[in-house]
């Protein structure tokens, strides 16, 4: 009996290890319709379709008209990646609370509702409205933010010229670096660092270079694009769809697909945004692209 028991035990374990431990997993994966690569492609196409012409797309397009493309692309993509990771974490947490069948059903309902809503919007869309209406909305928002930034800059810079005239270079320098507007080139007479020794000039030059690099990396335009994209994406249908997909599927692949989709969309917005927005909006098209570049 003990021998038979041992044999039985070994017979049970051996076929399990020998036959197919991985194919067994593969069979489990093949049970569903959506496999990892499929979920990657699904999330990629979902993001591509829902993001093109969206608010975040327009923000990136409009900001790319006024600021450096690489800067806008990095800011918008960082915001979208952060949002996608948050959505994926949220989506990954949901199935621990709810059964998988229910989350899949919920995802199906969400997709169908969003699809029906988009279909209605698309059918009701006349040729006059569309991107231009949303573009004007985003333009207004951007103008408001820039107006606020200008006012803040004026408040801060109203102190600095006086301080510079009085020889308070350091205080003025700090206030200038804290300003949210890009600093205009200084005239030599106004420059606060007029140091006599060459050793000091090299050190100060290095410090100035470092501060310039940091201001370039975290410029006001970068921060503005990041914040606007992050807030614009919050509660958007693509975010909710990402949560739903991450809940139902392999969230690593969903996140990868969503990030790729966002990268493609933002790239298109930043590269082609100038042409699209220039055609749609005469105001922005005539003022910024030619005056700033």
């Amino acid at each position: 009996m003990p021998d038979s028991a041992n044999k039985d035990h070994l017979d049970v374990t051996k076929p399990d290890t020998k036959t197919k431990p991985k194919p067994a997993l593969g069979e489990d994966e093949n049970e569903g319709l959506i496999q990892p690569l499929h979920s990657y492609l699904l999330s990629l196409t979902m993001i591509l379709f829902s993001e093109i012409g969206d608010k975040t797309f327009l923000i990136a397009a409009l900001m790319a008209m006024k600021h450096d493309r690489v800067l806008v692309f990095s800011a918008a993509l960082s915001a979208l990646v952060a949002m996608t990771i948050l959505s994926a974490i949220l989506g990954h947490a949901v199935p621990t609370l709810l059964p998988k069948r229910f989350t899949n059903f919920l995802a199906a309902v969400l997709f169908l509702v969003f699809g029906a809503k988009m279909l209605r919007e698309g059918l009701a869309m006349s040729s006059d409205e569309g991107v231009s209406a949303e573009m004007q909305e985003v333009e207004m928002e951007l103008e408001e933010k820039e107006h606020l930034a200008r006012q803040q800059g004026r408040r801060r810079s109203s102190v600095s010229p006086y301080a510079l005239e009085m020889g308070l270079g350091r205080g003025a320098r700090k206030s200038r670096s804290g300003s949210r507007l890009p600093s205009p080139p200084r005239s030599p007479s106004l420059s606060p660092d007029r140091s006599p020794s060459p050793a000091r000039t090299t050190i100060k030059g290095a410090i100035a270079g470092l501060t310039n690099l940091l201001s370039l990396l975290l410029s006001p335009a970068w921060v503005q694009t990041f914040v606007m994209t992050f807030l614009g994406e919050w509660g958007d249908r693509s975010q909710i769809a990402t949560i739903a997909m991450a809940a139902g599927q392999d969230y690593w692949w969903v996140t990868g697909g969503a990030v790729s989709g966002h990268a493609v969309c933002t790239g298109v917005a930043v590269i082609g945004g100038r042409a699209i927005a220039g055609r749609v909006s005469l105001r922005v098209g005539t003022s910024s692209p030619f005056s700033h570049r």
């Binding site: 569903g32 059903f105 199906a108 309902v109 699809g115 988009m118 698309g122 869309m125 769809a241 749609v280």
Partner: protein, 33 residues
């Protein structure tokens, strides 16, 4: 005008994609989960 039409098509395409995804997830929920 061209952009508006283009946006219209993208919206309709997105709607179609979302509806297809909805059906896929519905089948997944009904038969496989």
């Amino acid at each position: 005008m061209k952009v508006a039409n283009w946006n219209n098509k993208v919206t309709l395409g997105g709607a179609g994609a979302f509806l297809i995804f909805g059906v896929i997830y519905l089948i997944e929920a009904m038969y496989y989960a």
